[in-house]
């Protein structure tokens, strides 16, 4: 019998939503289990098989010194390593701390801040190690996750479109919420993958899939301000949420802070 490739699923700082996507693949889960050896997946099994692993899937961001150490070990034990979700690709929503004073944050939430060990920033996995593939989204799209797993099992390139949510709307035949209803929408600068869910529900995209490659954030911001009357706060909130520390969004968000200062 041919030995099955070994899969490991690792969690760092996150909400578990992305790895839950794997358990949400109800129809494929048992099939998948017949093709790969799920060697380490704490959310699903108490079985823990030692490395090396053929494929590691990493969820979550690095927020503690322990995590920074642990990710190095995981890289060493993994042939291929992919990250899933906004936490792993950009630090996630918890990266909002990167723009604030973490000591103050700690004392707001916990009565005894001295018990808490945490870093000042929440950072992407790729800031710490080499990553073979990054799947964006908060949460990721489970069909895309299956595609990535199967691509690696068959040693081919994953077919994950790199265009924008805006394109997905066009492909779906949605009416543009920005043009038709004047609803601010992050679709033009946001990475595709969700299938343009928000505009399909009469809502503007809030960018949960993170920036697409080379997004024109300045031009979109200008449009929001001049055509839709959005204020600095609204723009800031949209560029600073689940992917606040993604470089393209972080840089753009700083311009609103500067503008706010100038206006004051």
């Amino acid at each position: 019998m041919k030995t099955m490739p070994k899969l490991a699923v690792w969690k760092f700082t996150s909400c578990d939503g992305c790895q839950l996507s794997l358990l949400d693949c109800e129809d494929e889960l048992l099939l998948l289990a017949g093709q790969i050896d799920i060697a380490y997946f704490m959310e699903a099994s108490s079985r823990q098989v030692d490395g090396p692993y053929d494929l590691s899937i990493v969820e979550g961001s690095i927020t503690t010194a322990d995590e920074a150490e642990r990710i190095q070990k995981i890289r060493q034990q993994s042939h291929t390593l992919i990250t899933i979700g906004a936490c792993a690709s950009s630090g996630g929503i918890q990266a909002l701390r990167n723009f604030a004073d973490v000591t103050e944050f700690t004392s707001l939430v916990y009565a005894h801040p001295e018990y808490i060990a945490t870093l000042k920033t929440s950072s992407a996995i790729s800031d710490h190690i080499r990553v073979d593939f990054v799947l964006q989204g908060c949460p990721i799209n489970k069909a895309q996750l299956l595609e990535v797993i199967s691509a690696y099992l068959n040693q081919r390139k994953p077919q994950i479109p790199a265009h924008s949510v805006c394109m997905e709307c066009k492909l779906k035949g949605n009416i543009c919420v920005m043009v038709a209803h004047g609803t601010p929408c992050m679709g033009p600068v946001t990475h595709a993958g969700c299938g343009a869910i928000c505009p399909s529900y009469n809502r503007g995209c809030y960018g949960c899939y993170g920036p697409k490659e080379n997004p024109n954030t300045a031009s979109l911001s200008h449009w929001w301000q001049t055509e839709l009357g959005s204020d600095n706060a609204t723009l800031l909130e949209n560029f600073r949420n689940m992917n606040a520390a993604a470089p393209a969004f972080a840089t753009q968000s700083l311009t609103f802070i500067e503008k706010n200062h100038e206006e004051k």
Partner: protein, 439 residues
């Protein structure tokens, strides 16, 4: 020389995150129990400050990928409480339908994927599926229908996008709900089978007699099994509204944990723990379950009161059945309202809400300023409310099962923790027992 033993769990996976367990005991009893939560903090309450009130449901959803709907529900209700608005009945009903979907997906995930393998001695549902293929497949199928509800109403299963303060972004049409209805009918039949099967599992004996009996705390509503609304009541007579929550409950920060422990104020030390979740809901609201749910409970010989937490899996399976019944009722009487949401106007105000997450009470409290920016946020999750009770259970459990070999005792302790479904992977991991020699 006294020989004391230690049960140690290095990675309890999650209690809303990553946790570990440490129990030290000897022949005389249990010395120390610590359910340690080392999940790194994410500081939601801090960074909510300054954010817009309309963002609260989307931001707080990211606290938990397993019960995002619960966070969204508590958030919108708290904001609506602050702004003094009451959405139309159709919106109320649709929120309940969405919650039914989350109860189903979350409960069934726990029953089949996380807890059942304990009762039958498997490492995972995938391993269990080799011997019980139809049963695991049934579980996955029921869960998929729960997901379909959240997907349709919410836009996606995890972190739905359709919930907003005042209502929804878009209300489904009557005909969009029809295909779901067909699925729900199938799901309800499977849920009946499921409850029968769960009731046939072997249950460890466990009872906490007075003065250590549980204090159950849940919402209660005169006309319905509680989800989004109601008063907070307890088995010892507490009866308060959401706004009074912080007067009666407090959170303590204990050294061994990154989560906060909740207690009922004004109680004797050691008797201030309480229990939230399916068992509390069921015990305090049994008479408001649907007739079908009650008849199945009767058929499987399950009484209206349950205080063996190992049987909470039966309560979950009955709540799943109820959620299907309730979802069907809602779909059958659904009418699409003219407007999907009430337009809201920010004002300086404070609001409170408690809703029933799959794992129990979820409290949100916000203050906002005249521009609608959040100035203060406080969130108390079910797991932190149950944490003390989980530790106490282990304290009472271990002395009764000391005769077991270490491996079995460790497994039983793990199972006892999973009784509370403390967020997904607290379910599955590996505990080590060390013998420790005390000089």
């Amino acid at each position: 020389m006294k020989k004391s033993k230690v049960i140690k769990v290095d990675y309890l996976a999650r209690v809303e995150g990553e946790g570990a367990l440490y129990i030290r005991y000897d022949e005389a009893g249990v010395d120390d129990v610590q359910l340690k939560i080392f999940e790194p903090p994410r500081f939601f309450e801090a960074f909510l400050r300054g954010r817009d009130y309309l963002e609260a449901p989307d931001i707080t959803a990211r606290i938990c990928g397993i019960c995002p709907v619960a966070y969204q529900m508590s958030a919108v209700h708290a904001m609506e409480n602050a702004l003094d608005i009451t959405p139309a009945n159709e919106i109320r009903e649709l929120r309940r339908l969405l919650y039914c979907g989350e109860w189903i997906e979350s409960h069934v995930l726990h029953i089949y994927m996380l807890h059942a393998p304990d009762f039958l001695g498997y490492e995972s549902a995938v391993a269990m599926a080799k011997d019980y293929p139809q049963i695991v497949q049934r579980g996955l199928h029921i869960k998929k229908i729960g997901n379909a509800i959240v997907n349709l109403i919410g836009g996606r299963e995890i972190h739905p996008i359709n919930v907003r303060v005042g209502g929804f972004y878009r209300m489904p049409t009557v005909s969009e709900l029809q295909p779901l209805r067909e699925e729900l009918l199938k799901g309800r039949d499977m849920a009946i089978e499921s409850a029968r099967w769960v009731a046939s599992l072997p249950f460890p004996e466990f009872k906490r007699d007075a003065p250590f009996a549980y204090e159950f705390v849940a919402l209660s509503h005169p006309d319905e099994y509680p989800m989004n609304e109601g008063r907070i009541i307890s088995s010892t007579g507490l009866d308060i509204n959401a706004q009074q929550y912080e007067e009666y409950f407090a959170e303590e920060h204990v050294k061994h944990s990154n989560a906060l422990h909740s207690v009922i104020k004004g109680r004797e030390k050691g008797k201030d723990a309480y229990l939230v979740g399916p068992m509390a809901r069921y015990n305090l609201n049994y008479d408001r379950l649907s007739p079908l749910t009650k008849s199945i409970a009767k058929e499987i010989g399950f009484p209206p009161f349950c205080d063996n937490p190992f049987q909470s899996i039966i309560v979950r399976s009955l709540e799943v059945l109820y959620a299907f019944d309730e979802a069907l009722r809602i779909i059958d009487s659904y009418q699409r309202p003219h407007t999907p949401y009430i337009k809201t106007q920010a004002k300086a105000a404070t609001g409170y809400a408690v809703t029933e997450a799959p794992r129990g009470l979820l409290y949100h409290h916000y203050s906002i300023d005249a521009q609608g920016k959040i100035t203060e946020a406080k969130i108390v999750a079910p797991t932190s409310q149950n944490q003390k009770t989980i530790e106490n259970d282990l304290r009472y459990l271990v002395p009764h099962y000391m005769h077991l070999e270490e491996e079995k005792l460790r497994a039983l302790c793990e199972q006892a923790i999973r009784n509370y479904d403390p967020c997904i992977s607290c379910a599955t991991h590996f505990l080590k027992i060390h013998r420790e020699k005390n000089e």
